[in-house]
Amino acid sequence: MTTDAGQVTLRGNELPWQGVSGDLANARLIVLGLILAVPVLATAVLAILVSPWIAIATGVLALAGAWAAFVIVRQVSAISWIELPEELVIRKGRILRSLVSIPYGRLQYVDIASGPIARHFGLATCEIHTASPQSGGSLPGLPSAVAEELRSRLAARGEAQRAGL
């Protein structure tokens, strides 16, 4: 899987960056839809029953939802990662770009987490922890099998390259 990483320039594009599953966007869109459904429906019903002016609120909510959906799709396509010989590098974000580089020797443990919706799409989040609470990287939207493989690979490499604090 590759992304349109052409716009995400931190740390070059000549490396074979891997993107995350496009289903992550679907999963996040569903969550967004669930959150927005109740207020949109409520304002729509009120607009019909009470005053058509309330339809403005419905419109605003719908617009905000569309914008959020746009952002979600863009964000998910901007997540990419790569396993270099000594480190795992994760890139995220379009407007606020970030890149975190975690040496295998620094890994303390790796968590795999998935919520009900992500599980429905067969996705999992890989959370990487080091000795510093702020340095961990999280890699969402990996197919469960890939996440498991990544975890065992990371564990093996972490063990092989383990370094003291």
């Binding site: 320039t9 931190l10 740390r11 480190e87 407007i95 620094r106």
Partner: protein
């Protein structure tokens, strides 16, 4: 119930049964609110007080002469309401405190330390004895006034995984601490503690004691070569040179001066009660700083340094040198003129506590540039002295430094000339800040991970921020607005350097007790 402690020092009640903390605990935990409430009450009475003292402008208002009985009655009624309200609030506070005390219990059973808290929102925290990293005794200001101590059990988990037993009577706290250390298999730590009531300060004041034998980590509790002692007078001045106290002091002087000059009326004095919470806030911070860093002595034990400090309670912190993750030499704007510096460090495995934090991370509370250099030479012997000087005073254009490009000027109008990094054989040095100056030294082998970040403003100017992630601590090694290409280059190069340094560094397991906090019986 808190068991009565026999004079022999043996616990009357074993730790295996559920037991409560000291009844005064909730009031001390909620100490700030309690003080704020008292401040409020004082504020209510302030006008009366001024009236009684005969300050013009207040006398007339509070002592209505021939205004008639109705006004007096209304006044009396108002005061009655206030007094009743205050009493009610006080009762509620005491009631809540009592409930909190009733529902807070702890015990040690089945290899676990357990603490139950809360009535509405119940919390049950367990820490396996095998995971205990250290057991410390701490005494915040209010607890010190009432002769209580907290026993804080720190475990190997993340930052919030400690278990505080707040508060116990002093001797009970000592017993619980010793017993827990014993149960956690750290009996040797118990033996190393000096007897309670011992007076180590005199020994310290006696000057350098014999050097530690063989440079071993297991050194007598008080030995080693004294690197530096911070004079309390200098610490006092440095503590006052702080934005909060400077602002408050200037305001108070201005108000008093205008009042004395007759420029403003007595109403100006009415500002003071409103300022009480602010004064308490600022003052408490300054006083805590003073109490904490008073009598500061730093000693070199060969493989570790020991900081002994505390004005009323003596605290000892041992920092093994190989656990130091990052060092920051810092100078706030207010210390520019006296040319003072402070050194903070990140230590692996240290726990920074929310409230009453006690893991000491300051190895130089205030000192001259020579003091700072001397300490840096001990903390990191391979750090070149001129590199440190360039990091502290340099303004760009130094041959070994990579600075930020001048297009960073709009984002950091003053600091951009100073911001930059240098690489030595063993560490990276970041320098930054024009008003407040800071230099951060991170050994290559100690970098946890690295991040690169770029916001929209930075992308527009082709800049990026580099952060070397260190362990938890006050030092955040960060360099903002480096050119994107330079930042990426630095990251790649640094990854290679760190990798080499990591494989060279020996693997050290997390020792069970890396920081140690003791106290003598010197407290109030």
């Amino acid at each position: 119930m808190i068991p009565v402690v026999a004079t022999s020092g043996k616990p009357v009640l074993p730790l295996g049964e559920w037991q409560r903390l000291h009844p005064l605990s909730p009031l001390i935990r909620g100490g700030v609110f309690f003080l704020a409430f008292i401040g409020f009450v004082v504020a209510q009475w302030w006008e009366r007080l001024l009236g009684a003292l005969g300050v013009p402008g207040y006398r007339d208002r509070d002592l209505p002469g021939d205004a008639g009985g109705e006004v007096t009655d209304a006044l009396e009624l108002g005061w009655l309401v206030i007094v009743l309200g205050a009493t009610a609030v006080l009762l509620v506070i005491v009631g809540a405190a009592w409930l909190s005390w009733r529902f807070t219990r702890f015990r040690v059973a089945d290899g676990q330390i357990e603490l139950r808290r809360g009535w509405v929102f119940r919390q049950h925290r367990q820490v396996p004895l095998a995971r205990v990293q250290s057991v410390e005794i701490t005494r915040p200001v209010l607890a010190r006034l009432t002769g209580l101590s907290a026993v804080v059990v720190r475990s190997a988990g993340s930052g919030t995984s400690h278990l505080p037993l707040e508060f116990l009577g002093q001797s009970r706290a000592l017993e619980v601490r010793d017993r827990l250390l014993e149960l956690a298999g750290m009996s040797d730590e118990v033996a190393r503690l000096p007897a309670v009531g011992a007076e180590p300060a005199g020994e310290l004041a006696g000057g350098p004691v014999a050097a530690a034998p063989g440079g071993a980590t297991r050194v007598p509790a008080y030995g080693g070569r004294v690197i530096l002692q911070v004079p309390n007078g200098r610490l006092f001045l440095a503590t006052i040179l702080h934005p909060g106290s400077i602002l408050l002091g200037a305001m108070a002087v201005a108000v008093l001066a205008f009042y004395a000059a007759g420029e403003v009326g007595a109403w100006a004095l009415g500002i003071f009660p409103g300022m009480i919470p602010v004064v308490i806030g600022v003052g408490a911070g300054r006083v805590r700083e003073l109490l904490r860093h008073g009598n500061f002595v730093l000693a070199d034990l060969g493989t570790s340094v020991r900081a002994t400090h505390g004005l009323t309670e003596l605290t000892t912190t041992m920092v093994p040198l190989h656990r130091i993750q990052a060092v920051e030499v810092y100078q706030s704007l207010w210390w520019r003129w006296p040319k003072w510096w402070r050194i903070r460090i990140n230590v692996a495995g240290a726990k920074l506590v929310d409230g009453g934090g006690i893991t000491e991370t300051v190895v130089l509370p205030v000192g001259t540039i020579e003091d700072a250099q001397r300490i840096c030479a001990v903390l990191d012997p391979r750090l070149p002295g001129e590199a440190l000087l360039a990091a502290l005073h340099g303004m760009g254009g130094d041959p070994h430094w990579v600075g930020v490009p001048s297009r960073a000027r709009q984002l950091d109008p003053w600091g951009y000339r100073r911001a930059g990094y240098a690489v030595t054989a063993d560490s990276v040095i970041f320098r930054r800040g024009w008003f407040s100056r800071s230099a951060v030294v991170v050994p290559h082998a100690r970098i946890q991970s690295m991040t690169l970040a770029q916001g929209p403003m930075q992308r527009f100017r082709d800049l990026a921020t580099v952060q070397l992630v260190s362990t938890l601590g006050p030092v955040r090694p960060r360099l903002e607005h480096l050119g994107t290409a330079e930042a990426e280059f630095f990251l790649a190069e640094q990854a290679a350097r760190s990798s080499v340094a990591r494989t060279a560094a020996p693997i050290t397991p997390l020792s069970p007790c890396m920081t140690r906090v003791l106290f003598s019986g010197l407290g109030l």
